[in-house]
């Protein structure tokens, strides 16, 4: 009877901590990041895509050139992707190392299920930051393209769809980078960049089943389904479908959800079963 009470007590404590712990860490991280230096970094990431759009679409015209860009949407997609990836790289890949270097890990880890709270809390904090960066970057980029006259009336719709795409992409990429941050905690950024080059640049483009393990392929498919302008030529669209197949939105969303769940579960398992030592201790 006493043992059963103790188990149910622990379960209640676990649920309470699972509710409060990540929220505490997330709030703390967001407050901690609200400094001039970090806001400047976030600002640079958010301003980079619109600034590049301005340089590519408007500056040449101001200088008298009569060029036009065929798919400004694609340009927005690429530039915002770079910003979002860098944002996640800064905040998710340092999930453990930042605490070890800042000597705060021992304080977090000595809380009940503190490692779990830290993982989820930092995941949420970096997700919110990435969403904020992508929101500003998308709005700015679409505005520049609209002012340049390269986008039609459906700019608002495009803006919303891009937000949805980047919203989903941030969730999945954040999980993958969190796993790298937990596993390769000392060289996490390097590992993330290597993974991006191999998986997201190379594997995602391979017309074989192996592309399914990349995140970009599924995001690309969502873009194709939701926005449709990625392959404007119907004939090329058919060739594309012949090579890459046609699986529907829910299939890709399902795969992305699975990637997210699997990587976060792996990160959770690893963070709970690994002895993290600071550079001095090790």
């Amino acid at each position: 009877m006493e043992k059963a009470d103790s188990i149910s007590g622990n379960r209640a404590l676990f649920h309470r901590i699972l509710r409060e712990g990540p929220a505490a860490i997330c709030t703390f991280e967001l407050v901690r990041n609200f400094t001039v230096q970090r806001l400047i970094v976030a600002g640079i990431l958010a301003v980079f895509p619109p600034a590049m759009m301005f340089l590519i679409l408007i500056v040449p015209r101001l200088m008298g050139a009569t060029m036009s860009v065929n798919a400004p949407e694609l340009l927005i997609l690429v530039l915002v992707s770079i910003s979002c990836f860098l944002s996640l790289l800064l905040w998710s890949s340092t999930i453990v190392d930042a605490d070890l270097e800042g000597r705060t890990w021992v304080y977090i880890a000595s809380r009940p299920w503190g490692r779990v709270s830290s993982l989820f809390g930092k995941y949420l904090a970096s997700l919110f930051q990435c969403w904020a960066v992508s929101l500003l970057a998308i709005c700015g980029s679409v505005l520049v393209a609209y002012v340049a006259g390269d986008l039609g009336r459906d700019s608002v719709r495009l803006c919303l769809l891009l937000m949805a795409v980047f919203g989903v992409a941030a969730i999945v990429y954040n999980s993958v980078l969190s796993l790298f941050g937990v596993y390769f905690f000392r060289r996490a950024m390097l590992a993330c960049v290597a993974w991006a080059l191999v998986s997201e640049l190379f594997l995602a483009s391979v017309p074989a089943i192996v592309r399914f393990i990349s995140v970009r392929y599924h995001i690309q498919e969502l873009v194709f389904h939701w926005i449709g302008w990625l392959i404007p030529d119907p004939e090329f669209g058919e060739i594309y479908r012949g090579v890459y197949g046609d699986f529907g939105i829910w299939f890709h969303l399902g795969i992305l959800a699975a990637i997210s769940v699997v990587t976060m579960s792996a990160a959770l398992w690893w963070i709970n079963h690994h002895e993290y030592l600071s550079a001095e201790e090790s």
Binding site: I17, A23, A24, F28, G102, R103, Y107
Partner: protein, 310 residues
């Protein structure tokens, strides 16, 4: 409360702790040992932050590595200084208290109460980069007690505290023990730990060398080799008598012309003979203290005993 059964912890080829067996009952315990002796490793093993390479650790009867909920009953004040420059103490302590499962409002109340109890509430809204070492030490303790733990583990808590801070910290810890709560106080300075009057665990080289009451440790200290500095009005006469009557290794006259430095295999023998010598010579002693304040001599003696060389 805590049991370590044949516990060894290896960091690759380096030994953190070596074949430690101990059983700690609720109460106050002082973990004494030189820097690098394995105290922090032992604390991390107790907290389940490290897994023993060999042996078993039990905290409140359960394996701490697998039972995260046990940490709810513990408050840890580590030796490391957190590098938090922009946040203030209230934000940090509230966050860490909330991680114990308290709501944001409740955690904030508890954080304020613990910062007030440690007299740093006046600065709790200021960024922590502006804090002195002593203030940071108090904030570290505040985060450890805010959730009202049963067992408080402190790793070098007196570092950076001025004499007043040390006095207040000692009083706080004494009160903690008086309330019937448990305490493990880790330090490399005996008199800091002694002030709280706990039972002692002496650790060196990753081994548990001895354990016992404060009286036991004082006896061991007295019996161990050591250097004594005696300030007197007749240093030369006292030196010659000490050399004649006591088993000393060497006697040296201080450069100030008022002190005698005596090195002996047993400090106790000197202390026993000294009253007789003073009576005989008529010398007046104004000061008598150990030349080395650390426990190094005691530890080296215990290590020799441990290796069977004693």
């Amino acid at each position: 409360m805590i049991e370590l059964q044949c516990v060894t912890k290896l960091y690759r080829s380096v030994i953190g702790v070596n074949d430690i067996n101990l059983s700690l009952t609720p109460g106050a315990w002082g973990l004494l040992g030189p820097n690098g002796s394995g105290k922090t490793t032992m604390i991390n093993l107790i907290l389940g932050q490290l897994r023993p390479t060999i042996g078993r650790v039990l905290l409140f009867g359960q394996n701490p590595w697998k039972n995260g909920h046990l940490l709810r009953r513990i408050g840890l004040c580590p030796a490391v200084e957190p590098n938090l420059v922009h946040v203030n103490a209230l934000q940090w302590v509230t966050c860490l208290t909330r991680m114990h499962g308290f709501t944001a409002a409740d955690a904030r109340q508890r954080a304020i109460a613990s910062l007030t109890a440690l007299k740093v509430d006046y600065a709790m809204h200021r960024p922590m980069r502006e804090y002195s070492l002593g203030m940071r030490q108090r904030v570290k303790l505040a985060q450890a007690i805010a959730h009202d733990p049963e067992l408080l583990i402190l790793d070098e808590p007196f570092n950076g505290l001025d004499p007043v801070g040390r006095y207040e910290m000692t009083n706080y810890l004494k009160e903690w023990v008086r309330l019937g709560k448990s305490l493990i106080l880790s330090s490399h300075v005996l008199h800091e730990v002694e002030a709280v009057n706990p039972s002692f665990l002496l650790v060196s080289g990753g081994r548990l060398l001895a354990s016992g009451s404060p009286e036991d440790v004082r006896r061991m200290l007295a019996d161990s080799p050591g250097q004594i500095v005696i300030r007197t009005d007749k240093p030369r006469i006292l030196a010659s008598h000490l050399m004649r009557d006591c088993p000393v290794n060497h006697v040296r006259l201080g450069t100030d012309g008022e002190t005698v430095e005596v090195s002996a295999e047993s400090a106790l023998a000197i202390r026993t003979s000294l009253p007789g010598i003073l009576a005989e010579t008529g010398a007046t002693v104004t000061e008598l203290h150990s030349a080395d304040e650390s426990l190094r001599n005691l530890f080296s003696t215990l290590m020799r005993y441990h290796r069977g060389e004693g």
